[in-house]
Symmetry: C2
Subunit: 338 residues, 2 copies
């Protein structure tokens, strides 16, 4: 109930001047005398005036709003990625608004459309696992809203994407393990319908073949659901009782694999070494700390945000395909074999 919001008109009436004058005074326009500006500011303060952004941005073409759509707020990676994005977005006087698609294409579509409703100035999108084509992004293009795909994407020639070089990271993992004598290893990967999973697997396998080692299919776990991990791992241990190392392509897989190793009473790294692609958080609270290829969410977020803001402000629609390199963090989970 209570008094409706204070508007420019209220301030104008109170001072016996016109709305435009008040508007310009608050915007520090040179046409307005400083005496008037002071009086306006004082009254605005007293009435605790709050500008109506809907009205303001009805005229302006921009909204200074950047939207981020993620499949879900995962435990790992996503939080730090959001933090990184947020940092850059705020430094540039934009506001970040975060949506969650619940890994459902229908919701992703709905949210993308909603971004146009809000007239977001730009959109950051981490694709849902259901997304197989990008035609639902056309509306954004119609509205001239730049978009950047990050982390989880699919192949595209039309949109700017920012990922790590997944294949290269997989290969590096393999090379590292081989360099430490682990010729009999196991790789744990996610759903192969996702580019991120298939690329990392591909790189990992190639890393081994490059050194003349063929990995059997049973050495490359492909999980469609996390729940399958235990059974698949059991089988792998049965078929390859002599394996000396395990590589996991994400933190989610890492913590669960680590758990299952503990459960089996396997000592790390004495009996089995462990290597992961990781955000860097989980490796620090697992014992021993896990050697990993660091793929920092914060950095990905920051770079992505910079690029999007560049696109917004320079109105550029040049397509880019940025690959962020991972860095090796050596901790205590990989043993060197003779």
């Amino acid at each position: 109930m209570g008094g409706n919001r204070v508007t420019l008109k209220d301030i104008a009436k109170r001072l016996g001047i016109s709305m435009p004058t008040v508007s310009r005074a608050l915007a520090d326009h040179p046409d307005i005398s400083s005496a008037t500006k002071d009086r306006v500011r004082e009254v605005a303060q007293a009435l605790s005036y709050i500008p109506n952004y809907r009205a303001r941005y009805l005229r302006a073409k921009h909204s200074r709003l950047i939207a981020l759509i993620v499949p879900e707020m995962n435990t790992f990676f996503v939080p730090s990625m959001i933090a990184g994005i947020n940092r850059v977005v705020q430094q540039n006087d934009y506001s970040l608004i975060v949506f969650q698609s619940d890994n459902a294409i229908v919701q992703e579509r709905r949210l993308v459309e909603y971004c146009t409703h809000l007239s977001a100035d730009g959109v950051l999108l981490v694709l849902s696992s259901e997304t197989t084509d990008l035609s639902h992004l056309d509306v954004l293009h119609d509205c001239d809203i730049p978009i950047v795909l990050l982390d989880k994407t699919i192949e595209t020639a039309k949109h700017t994407t920012i990922t790590i070089d997944d294949q290269e990271a997989g290969r590096e993992a393999a090379t590292y393990l081989i360099a430490h004598g682990h010729t009999r290893a196991l790789g744990v990967f996610g759903d192969q319908r996702q580019r991120i999973s298939s690329q990392r697997l591909k790189g990992f396998r190639r890393g081994y073949t490059d050194h003349g080692i063929q990995l059997a299919d049973t050495q490359l776990l492909r999980l469609t659901r996390l729940a399958e991990l235990e059974a698949q791992l059991d089988r792998a241990f049965e078929e390859h009782p002599d394996l000396t190392a395990i590589f996991t392509m994400t933190d989610e897989l890492l913590v669960r694999t680590h758990y299952l190793l503990m459960k089996r009473g396997i000592r790390i790294p004495e009996e089995v070494s462990l290597l992961a692609i990781s955000d860097g958080e989980a490796p620090m609270f697992l014992h021993p700390n896990v050697t990993h290829l660091r793929h920092a969410g914060g950095e990905v977020g920051e770079r992505t945000a910079h690029i999007l803001i560049g696109m917004i402000e320079h109105n550029s629609d040049a397509m880019m395909d940025v690959r962020i390199r991972t860095t090796l963090v050596e901790l205590g989970s990989v043993a060197t074999l003779p």
Copy 2:
């Protein structure tokens, strides 16, 4: 560049009818003949018309937008809480927009104000650790925007809050440990300036005194930063070499405590038992699985969202103070002493 957005006027012009008619046709207003409606819908489709929400909600008083402000996207709890909120929000045809205050009161203030700019219909707020009074929420009240505080709050008589019964949870933890013979225990708590920390500690201590056991101050760790944990834990083990159980008040503290126990080579639960208040995720990837008082983020989120939407739609400003009960999940980390 390129064609600006399609507006009602474009559709009207194309059909030789007026804007209001188009508007009403799209809104399925009874005044409009179904023949006209069909033609309008067809053209709207063809031109891929997208309504401008800024303009629409400039007149309407509401925006169907609900804002959530969290200190940070933590690894634990927050993600599932957001998921829970999102579920209810969407069911009720609102959109959730998430902001992050980075645990800074200045940003929290800025974001609260931004909610008024956006004319959000309601605000959910998890207080930053720096927040000690709630005067910055007055602007929301001025704009008649209902607000609900959740999870991390401070004492307030003015605002609806939803938390778990922190003190009771702390007491239950103590009671459980005592019931299993753990008379010499250690509690690990966060910054005591936060209600959530002080209440849980208070309850835990009281749980022990209720059974005639006085806990020494060195048995109640109060961390202002996570980095202090190792040193404090070391000291505690020195002073209480005979302790048999550790309770951690959050997941963050749990995973790090678990790590430090592993590092010391302490076996759980044979040598030291472990109990936590937890979201339920971390306990499943630590070995052995950790017995905990379940404090599910999803449920908190859902209930909170329901309450806020109720406030929005019934325009009620009745103050509530909801306490959600935790449930005990017994896994393998607490031994029964003789």
